[in-house]
């Protein structure tokens, strides 16, 4: 996998954990940010970015190339990753 994959998550969100577990199980490398553990300024910056990308503040958000996937959705992840 050569694409840059990013996961925005909350440290307490069970669906975020499932998404990360799914990616790990498929040996997909990704950067991940736990938005709720950031300091306020960084948090605002990331939340603005998430709202710009998705129109809301819902987690997890997975960015795979041009694809933006909101929520834990294994079918969409498989399609975007080609697995």
């Amino acid at each position: 996998m050569t694409e840059n994959i990013k996961v925005y998550a909350l440290s307490t969100c069970p669906y975020c954990k499932r998404t990360k577990r799914f990616l790990d199980e498929h040996n997909v490398h990704y950067d991940h940010v736990e938005v709720d553990t950031l300091d306020d300024a960084k948090q605002d910056e990331i939340l603005e970015e998430i709202e710009r990308l998705t129109g809301r503040q819902s987690f997890p958000v997975v960015i795979i190339g041009p694809e933006v996937i909101v929520g834990h959705d294994e079918e969409k992840l498989r399609r975007a990753l080609g697995i």
């Binding site: 909350l10 440290s11 307490t12 969100c13 069970p14 669906y15 709720d36 553990t37 939340l47 503040q57």
Partner: protein, 136 residues
């Protein structure tokens, strides 16, 4: 003689007041009919209030969510334990049992959150986090 039918008990979890039932007395253990929290009744100069039983413990949130589901006739699914783990994480990191699927740590998102207490589950079949569900 005080007319107890007009008295209310303040619940510190959902921040609402519910009716004081005849026969209740100081120290009694009661369940808040709005959020399911177990409370010990205490008389204050401003009226009745409830003290959270087993406050901030895992037992507290387990009993509260079970009681809330029982009162409303909701059910859980196989996400129950993972969501409870998230709620316990919120309490440890942010001080109370706020919805684990939301960013905001404010009283209205204390589980069960205000939209859930207000009927979101009946409207949508589930709460925002997918913790409480209507029966299939």
């Amino acid at each position: 003689m005080t007319d107890t039918s007009l008295e209310r008990v303040y619940c510190p979890v959902c921040q609402a007041r519910f009716r004081f039932a005849p026969g209740w007395k100081e120290g009694d253990s009661v369940i808040c009919p709005i959020c399911g929290q177990r409370l010990a009744l205490r008389k204050t100069p401003d009226g009745w209030t409830g003290d959270r039983a087993k406050a901030f413990s895992e037992d507290e949130i387990r009993e509260r969510s079970d009681e809330f589901a029982r009162i409303r006739g909701y059910v859980f699914n196989d996400m129950k334990e993972e969501i409870l783990e998230g709620l316990i994480g919120k309490q440890k990191r942010f001080g109370d049992f706020y919805c684990p699927c939301r960013m905001m740590h404010v009283p209205e998102f204390q589980c069960p959150c205000k939209p859930t207490r207000g009927g979101d589950v009946d409207r949508n079949g589930k709460c925002y986090c997918g913790f409480y569900w209507t029966k299939a």
